[in-house]
Subunit: 387 residues, 4 copies
């Protein structure tokens, strides 16, 4: 099993992650992880704080030696570059407690109100610091480790943005790789240059109005062998696990596999992917409406996930709220934030997908070293061809 935990508050000292179960002998560097952190961090529509003050950098604190994993848990730390300005507000010490720092006007759409009630707190900062999407930097770093492992198995994970606000990108005719290549060059991860221009305008307009925008992104996994996940028990079904991963990401409110809701409106004869066979190649499909998953298992085609991201709930022109102490009606706290996080959400979507795929891969193939895991995998591929 590959599993992980994360910790850390948005303006605390650092984010921490511990990932356990990676095989030994996996080449990995901080630079590799930081590439993904950077991809997550920089996009049009993100706040200035995030882009200028905090260039995220992961430090590997354990589990890697001389360029390779050694089998022990990998711990990662992403420091808060702005910590010096937060030392009192986020201090460990009771002495630094001060009413003036307390936030009492919960923002609709956030964990603020629900959190203070659940945990019996009286300062929404106790909640929002952890609920913040900044936590996804830690998951992105863990996702990087998993992505690195999957690369060794020739499995790749892509993402691109297809909608922002009411603007839809045209991606028809593009292969997943092409869409991804275009996305990597776009400041919004949008593979359609024309749509990107409109999206930027929409974001600028939203920003001018103190408003925010959401959107839709796609994650694609290529190279998965037939048979990750399982049809045999509800909690082994890969589509369920992927859906959990995606909807556990802040602001994600919908997830589909393959054609998604659209498939609900089609006929059975139109949507199932017929089966073909070629000697040497084995079984294959000419269509992929299923999005790579049948019966809770990968079927060898690309996994295709779509996710809906709501517009952020931190509005510069705040909504109505209530002071949690006085119960007086007032507008919500204004907290520095982004206008449109969809491009970043897509990278987080890649990351959490990587964790699920890597774990299901390890469950199928076992292996305590990359070599053992890969040997087991290759023999299975060989078996598939001869089946």
């Amino acid at each position: 099993m590959i599993r992980y935990m994360t910790a850390g508050e948005s303006h605390g000292k650092c984010l921490t992650a511990v990932a356990e179960g990676l095989p030994a002998g996996l080449k990995i560097s901080e630079d590799y992880i930081n590439r993904d952190l950077s991809r997550r961090q920089y996009s049009f529509g993100r706040g200035e704080r995030l882009q200028y003050i905090e260039k995220d950098q992961a430090k590997i604190l354990s589990g890697v030696r001389w360029g390779e994993t050694i089998g022990s848990p990998v711990s990662l730390s992403i420091e808060n570059k702005d910590w010096e300005n937060w030392g009192k507000i986020m201090s460990l010490s009771e002495e630094d407690k001060a009413d003036k720092f307390c936030l009492t006007r919960p923002r609709p759409g956030h964990a603020d109100l629900t959190g203070v009630l659940k945990f019996n707190r009286h300062d929404t900062r106790d909640i929002l610091e952890r609920a913040s999407a900044r936590e996804t930097a830690a998951r992105t770093a863990v996702g990087s480790l998993c992505r690195r492992l999957l690369e060794e198995m020739d499995i790749k994970i892509y993402s691109f943005v297809t909608e922002i606000g009411k603007i839809k990108a045209k991606t028809k005719g593009l292969s997943h790789e092409e869409a991804f290549d275009l996305a990597e060059k776009s400041q919004l991860r949008c593979p359609d240059k024309h749509a990107e221009g409109q999206m930027i305008k929409a974001i600028q307009e939203a920003k001018a109005n103190g408003d925010t925008l959401g959107g839709v992104y796609t994650v694609v996994v290529t190279g998965c062998p037939v048979g990750l996940g399982s049809h045999t028990h509800w909690d082994l079904k890969l589509d369920g696990l992927l859906a959990q991963a995606i909807l556990s990401v802040q602001a994600n409110k919908g997830v589909t596999i393959g054609r998604g809701f659209d498939v609900a409106r089609a006929k059975g004869s139109e949507v199932h992917d017929e089966i073909f066979y070629e000697s040497g190649r084995g079984f294959f499909r000419k269509t992929n409406n299923a999005g790579g998953i049948e019966g809770g298992m990968t079927n060898g085609e690309d996994i295709v996930i779509h996710a809906a991201v709501k517009p952020l709930a931190s509005l510069r022109r705040p909504l109505k709220s209530v002071n949690i102490k006085t119960k007086a009606e007032m507008t919500a706290e204004i907290v520095r934030s982004d206008v449109c996080p969809v491009a970043s959400a897509a990278i987080v979507g890649e990351a959490v997908t990587a964790t699920v795929i890597a774990n299901s891969f390890k469950q199928k193939f076992g292996g305590d070293s990359v070599k053992e895991m890969r040997d087991n995998f290759l023999r299975y591929i060989d078996y598939l061809k001869k089946y």
Copy 2:
């Protein structure tokens, strides 16, 4: 923790479920569970076999005594009423093995092909028997136990169908309770009488063509207190757990919370649910775009889940496939099945939602007896009012 496992093949002796973690002192009967099994089983568009041969009946084998749970695991069995006709095909004994019983033409859209490759089998029946949606009868029974528990906490779970094929029901203006009441009287769980008529026609037409239809259903949970789930760790987020539960159900390909994909196209100022307060009532909202979940936690409003069900992959007019033994191209196996399972899927959706909510409820309130759990809950409700 409330957890459960299921076992059993579609045409095997029986389905089995073991559920662990229910508090003692919960009144429960087989009749109560059978009511849900019946709701799952009977709807327009389901196959004749399912509706006439197999009236599902759960037997409680342990964990309940003199009308009440006693704290030990509850085991449930749902017998295959048609077992006498399947004894050879599904026999335990190697002696009954016979080529004539083997299925070798995998159905696109099913686990058939993927499963035989993953598990190294050469008869797709070894896969399809477990991958079949019949397994959801066991989950429905477990869901009933959880629903019964939630009733004691005044939490209720509803469902209704909003789309079948290209037909959409009109539900505007209906409260969740009203939509549910209408759905309970509809043979398609559709609260819109007019749409229901069109849906029936569409199903009849699909049936005539050997085709199938999918659709969209809604699950609603009322009465949840603020604070089930948690914002603090990715695998505690309630939206993630609900999404896993829903997409782990056969044929479900998409899931959203609240306004779902639609929310991705709106502005932040339009979609977040402003916060109000009234003495005696506490905090509340006038809108529910979030679908009852903010920051991975219930916010006290109704939980609203939408799910997309693909048209079934068992077509009477079969798709192209390949014989797994000879590798010759041929049409897929024809297996007796339904035309449109959306109404049943909605009941399963209720059930798996119940398991997630019951588990999160127990994690928050603990308790080894219903009384202890409910006392802990009521005191929390009291605290919320005074917060």
Copy 3:
């Protein structure tokens, strides 16, 4: 992962187990499992009820077809042959509730008192039915499935009894296999004929006095490759997992690996197993003080576990207790039971050990079919030889 749940009360309809994660293609029969159930059931010192009324027989309800596992969960049922006499007392129906059936005098040493307090019950039968060691029949059946899998990997699990009451068997000079062979022929699983005679006498004497006896047994696992379990995280350490399995068995109060408490009194220079190497054979040891586990991992030598079983708490000459309703002091309930269960406990010890080893095996080697798992395993063995 291989995991399992059990359910069922001692005098309920049946015990149920669901085991998930066994690879497909494992040959298994009810007879195979019943052999272990019988080994658990019949020994000198067990009560008449157990030996004469209830010849345990497992039924496989799912997961096996035509003599082989098919990858889906295996469910097992062990019926209560005496159910007809218990239908009212253990009835599902509230109508059968009757004061006359209620037990109110908790037995010291049992779950009775603790259980009724925890679960808020007022009849100790609600507790003792599940707490009873009869539940271990279900674990024994699951252990059989795991043992069958391990056989395919040339891993074997033995047990024998070394102490009953104050009598100790002499096993010095016997190999584990020899001790096991002698134990299989003994009605007390004792490899020392002379000691067995004394043990029988001690049991007869205890029985005559309305008393009970405990003892010590040994479980040995042979054939494990180097490297099951892991040193990398506390909850992967194999000694910890084995200890949990053993102390989760009713009446087991102590567990050691290798030389156990005795090792605490020796010097380091005396107890560590020096390392040798021979070409073709690889690394090996000439001693096995470690009991086959170093650093939480198998080291290739036999795993040796010792467990202490307390004398049963169901005494025919009962201890002091208190009526839970009236609070009056009185003697404890007398419940029909065994005098000395150590031989049976040893078989259960084998079973739970098998579940832990099978699970750790699957985690290392993966595999969805026995063939895939075994191929991965054999290549690892080959790699070890060439290391």
Copy 4:
């Protein structure tokens, strides 16, 4: 659920722990944790390195603000004070790889050999760095958090050492509290002054001979309410969970609850703790042979655990081994280490016991704040009195 993961190598940058599930509002400081780290670190018989170079200090990196937990995961870091001397040997960078740093002579009794084989490594340092008992500093820190929580519930955890090598302490007549108080003043955690003197001599002698010593320690938990753990399912039984925790600690080879192996040699009539009742006090016992656990649950008496620690496997006068590269016979690596770690092991025993008890406590009482948890607990205590 309260759960945790640890990471970090003995001579790496730092140890890291992430603990999740602690309720909000728990007062905690680094000083509190450091007190336990210090108790673990300083005892007679520990190596100079450990005692002089590395005064362990935990830093809380998240989850605590203004002196209290806030509900989010608590991350802890314990830096390696000697890191500057290890930067090359434990470097992240492939460039620092150098044969001269590689260790190739595995130490019998350690994970060294098993680990390099399992993980396909060729330098035993890749294994021993993680397998080292230094990792228990991280578990001790997590245990401190749990201990702090349990204090709020009036539950306390003690330990003392009863044997070192062949010397046994006399503790007869001492209450657990008295034994603990004496232990806290002893440099070997031994409550018997006379025995302590002999133990020190034995350790000095072992040290002079390049040898090591093990021993036996006791952990006691006072104040647990009736009903932690559960009789209902094997993996909820508290004795199993405690045994796992203890045997997952490096060098621990045996664990017992209550009278342990001794109980196996007694009669049933001698060992079960009779039940008494007093109005106002409720049910109680006059003896505690069971060690506080019956039926896998706490019975309200002190939990008493004994654990056997083997003599350390790092000998200054090394045992026979084999060079893993050349396969030549030679003596094992000499790694700086302790002579007798039993006093430290006892503190780690306290810590891992605290994690198990805290988790079972949370499972029974739920609660997201200390206040909610404690209120639920107190009401249960009240219910017990009225039962």
